[in-house]
């Protein structure tokens, strides 16, 4: 039984923006939960009214840009932000933009490029990711070595808190240490501290030149060895990524073998020299079909191929394990990994973001994820890293044999969440327990 008061919701956002027929709701939803209703607010005050209503009636509510994860909101409200999709301001003098959360990430990238500017964070999912979602997830990606992780691009926001109040924070200053840093703390909180309704985003000038170097390799180990050579030579490209043979075709059709993608964004002069240096290193390292890509269309195709591979992995978090090691420790990591997984090239999916020492594995069906993650965490910890995120934190505490640390961490996380969302209304599907 649902307590959702549909007529009150219609009163807030208008009849057309409340959808409660299951067939029409489907395109806005993912996951197994069965919310009673999808609601599409058009402005901040509507978002606030909906959240207040959810509190009054003690109904769970989850938020998404274009698509909402329904975990934990059966009988509750799915809020879709897609009507709030405007760029409210593009400020060239201060290199910032004010953006509504429902704007698709890919559309924002287009507009930013048209303005001659750069917004580095990669879209989490190529077609459906929104700018609000980008900061709600708040990840790092394969460009973070050069540009910094996603959070560094948020200067402020307007947010509807889980109790319905509106919080406005931040300014256009690129340097701001006033108060506690709630601005960056909110990034990555997955909508548990509140719902972004406006984002004040930092931009950069567009790079003068973009080019890429690609090459294919017979083995993951050979391919990865070239990354160590590059780091040793003090070459730090924008991206330095490796995709195993199973996934390489998705990135670039016709690829036979493991695909290396080196992205070079920066200045014309150095770009030329570095591209040549990288191409030489790849060739000497056993790469074939090594090629410098300067053509704009071909470059975009390649990067989109990479984003597609990335997005496919992002789409199934339950079937992936991510871990990080020191970037130069990657050869040992891959060797030890192969002992656990068998031939890395044939594994369902392996990607390496070389500059970050990051590996994402797509697991074969039937894998005991936790058992593998536990082994991988030990492996990673011996090489200066760990399994990513909350799960990694738990496994790390297990390795330290420090149950108290894990208990402290989770009790702090849930205390924080409780302070902001006393009734546990917002995004209940987000777990802070691992």
């Amino acid at each position: 039984m649902s307590n959702v008061n549909i007529s009150k919701l219609k009163g807030i956002v208008g009849d057309a923006n409340v959808i409660d027929s299951p067939s029409e709701m489907a395109k806005y939803l993912k996951g197994q939960g069965k919310p009673a209703v999808v609601v599409l607010p058009g402005n901040t005050s509507e978002v606030s009214s909906i959240v207040k209503l959810a509190n009054e009636q003690n109904v769970k509510l989850a938020v998404g840009g274009a698509v909402v994860d329904t975990l934990g909101i059966t009988g509750g409200i799915a809020m879709v932000m897609s009507r709030m999709n405007q760029i409210l301001e593009m400020d060239h003098l201060n290199l910032v933009a004010v953006v509504e959360p429902g704007l698709l990430h890919k559309e924002f990238l287009l507009k930013v490029a048209e303005a001659g500017l750069n917004f580095p964070p990669e879209p989490y999912e190529v077609e459906t990711s929104s700018v609000g979602g980008c900061f709600a997830i708040g990840d790092s990606d394969s460009k973070s070595f050069e540009y910094g992780p996603t959070r560094t691009f948020l200067l402020g926001f307007e947010m509807v808190l889980p109790t319905g109040e509106i919080l406005d924070i931040g300014n256009k200053c690129i340097k701001n240490v006033s108060g506690l840093d709630f601005i960056h703390f909110a990034v990555g909180s997955q909508g548990t501290f509140g719902i972004f309704t406006k984002l004040l985003v930092k931009l950069l000038p567009a790079p003068e030149a973009k080019k890429a170097v690609i090459g294919t390799f017979a083995s993951m180990h050979k391919a990865n060895a070239t990354f160590n050579t590059l780091i040793k030579r003090n070459v730090h490209p924008t991206r330095m990524n490796l995709i195993n043979a199973s996934l390489a075709k998705t990135a670039k059709s016709g690829t036979e073998g493991q695909l290396v993608i080196i992205d070079l964004q920066g200045f014309k002069e150095s770009g030329k020299n570095i591209a040549n240096e990288v191409a030489t290193v790849l060739t000497l390292g056993g790469g074939f079909d090594v090629k410098i890509i300067e053509d704009e269309v071909e470059y975009e195709q390649l990067i989109n191929g990479w984003l597609k591979v990335r997005a496919d992995l992002n789409a199934k978090p339950a079937q992936t394990v991510e871990f990080v090691v020191g970037p130069m420790k990657m050869p040992q990591a891959l060797a030890q990994l192969e002992a656990l997984t068998g031939d890395l090239g044939a594994y369902p999916g392996v990607i390496v973001e070389g500059l970050l020492g990051y590996v994402c594995l797509a697991l074969p069906e039937g894998t005991d994820k936790l058992a593998l993650a536990t082994k991988l965490n030990k492996l990673a910890m011996s090489l200066g890293g760990n399994v990513k995120g909350l799960l990694g934190h738990k496994l790390k505490a297990e390795v330290y044999n420090d149950a108290e640390m894990w208990k402290q961490t989770t009790s702090l996380l849930s205390e924080l969440r409780q302070q902001f969302d006393p009734k546990g209304i917002l995004n209940p599907g987000v777990s802070l327990e691992a």
Binding site: K175, V177, Q408, L432
Partner: protein, 458 residues
């Protein structure tokens, strides 16, 4: 006064010589970079995380508050023992545990002096970008506490952008680790970010995982001299519009040109309205193009533009800037420093605003600024012994803060809030934001025992 029992226990925990309770000793820990002072009940200097834990537990048993302190160079009053409290000094936790240049991470204790870390890193051709002007004295723990900036923020950001993880002793005496050795280790919430800049109000940092990067292969330093400050601001705007991100865009006004010239004799014309120090870094082959573009931009409006041709010339240019704060002491014995920041486009208006405050209150103000960041350091010159004048200066500082907020800026770009700016915080933040800060503080420290009264009141 601490009871004999507590003093005895403290000495057992950290060692006899690491506990200070005598009046003269306490006095020296009562100050920081501001004009404020306070007197602690005692000062303890632990050397290990375990000792920090024991001290915290002991203080909890006796309901005594703790104020963390590094070198005490902050400009916010963040380390002043303003309430009855014990100062916990981290200056004896100075180990550099690890420098791993291959994997871009260093692990240090909070008492390590920024400069000492830089020296070790430089041997391996690496560095830690945050370098506040106090870097020869200030500690990494202090930099983390205040989220310090420095002259390179335009390109490289502030301290928070280089902290990968922390070991933290919570107010209940438990130890947690936030983040780790990479970008991807935060446990659900980005606990590292909320602790950086919290001035020790949420937890005591006992270990810091910092991100280190290679020293750029090339660097070019330029100096432009202007008739008016507005002209320098124009150059800054034009450089950014040209798509160039210099590491540094430092500005000094006429007053500072003169006070530094008295000392450095660098040859900057004394009638100049402003100088701008511009620095770019990166790959050697990109330098000429950027220098050329910047030169063309600057020359349209500057009366003089030069590119440093040698390390000696670079030093000459920087000596003026580095001695700016000290040099004003030749004019008046005291100065009040501010770190108001405005959106870059409002920088010229902020300069006008500073001039207006100087006029309205009849005070002398010189300006040093990180112009690319919109971050100004108006230095108000006065004599602290003159009570009336000191009052006027405080009012003028308040006017500067309000001016920055009117220009949609912030009262703190890189120094932190501490005690000094706490009274203006609710002018910058809405009640909902202030309440969010309190929710965070309550989650970590419900009894308000860690650095009470700093940043916000519960």
């Amino acid at each position: 006064m601490l009871s004999q029992t507590v003093v005895k226990r403290l000495k057992e925990i950290v060692g006899e010589k690491n506990v200070v309770t005598d009046k003269v000793g306490l006095l020296t820990y009562g100050y920081d970079g501001t004009l404020l002072s306070g007197e602690a009940l005692g000062v303890v200097s632990p050397q290990t995380t375990e000792q920090v834990v024991e001290v915290v537990k002991l203080m909890n048993e006796h309901n005594i508050k703790l104020v963390p302190r590094g070198a005490g160079t902050n400009e916010s009053g963040g380390t002043i023992p303003s309430e009855e409290s014990v100062v916990i000094s981290f200056t004896k936790m100075t180990k550099i545990h690890e420098i791993d240049t291959e994997n871009f991470v260093a692990v240090v204790e909070p008492g390590v002096i920024n400069f000492d870390l830089q020296v070790e890193l430089e041997k391996k051709k690496f560095y830690f970008p945050p370098d506040p002007s106090s870097y020869k004295a200030s500690t990494i723990g202090g930099n983390v506490g205040e989220c310090s900036g420095g002259p390179k923020c335009f390109k490289y950001g502030v301290t928070r952008d280089y902290i990968l993880g922390l070991e933290v002793v919570l107010p209940n005496g438990k130890v947690i680790q936030t983040g780790g050795r990479n970008f991807q280790s935060e446990p659900g919430y980005d606990l590292t970010r909320i602790i950086v800049g919290a001035e020790g109000t949420l937890g005591l940092v006992t270990k810091v995982f910092v991100r280190i990067i290679p020293i750029p292969r090339a660097k070019k330093t330029m100096l432009a001299i202007y008739d008016k400050v507005e002209d320098a601001s124009q150059t800054v705007a034009d450089i950014v519009a040209a798509g160039i991100i210099p590491t540094t865009l430092e500005l000094m006004d006429n007053l500072l040109i003169n006070t530094t010239e008295d000392f450095t004799h660098a040859g900057i014309p004394r009638d100049a309205g402003a100088v701008l120090i511009i620095e770019v870094d990166g790959y050697p082959e990109d330098m000429d193009g950027q220098v050329k573009t910047i030169g063309e931009i600057a020359k349209t409006i500057a009366k003089e533009f030069k590119v440093a041709q040698s390390a000696v010339e670079v030093d000459q240019i920087w000596t003026s800037r580095r001695s700016a704060f000290g040099s004003v002491a030749r004019v008046r014995p005291s100065y009040g420093v501010n770190d108001i920041t405005v959106p870059r486009s409002n920088f010229p208006k902020a300069i006008e605003g500073v001039l207006k405050v100087a006029k309205d209150f009849g005070v002398t103000i010189g300006v040093v600024a990180h112009a690319g960041d919109g971050n100004l350091h108006p230095l108000i010159l006065f004599d602290q012994r003159n009570k009336e004048e000191t009052e006027t200066v405080h009012t003028a500082e308040q006017a500067l803060c309000m001016m920055a907020l009117d220009l949609k800026g912030t009262i703190s770009g890189e120094h932190g809030i501490g005690l000094v700016k706490k009274k203006y915080l609710d002018k910058e933040f809405t009640p909902a934001a202030m309440e969010a800060f309190r929710k965070v503080k309550r989650s970590f420290d419900p009894s308000n025992r860690f650095n009470p009264g700093k940043v916000i009141d519960l």
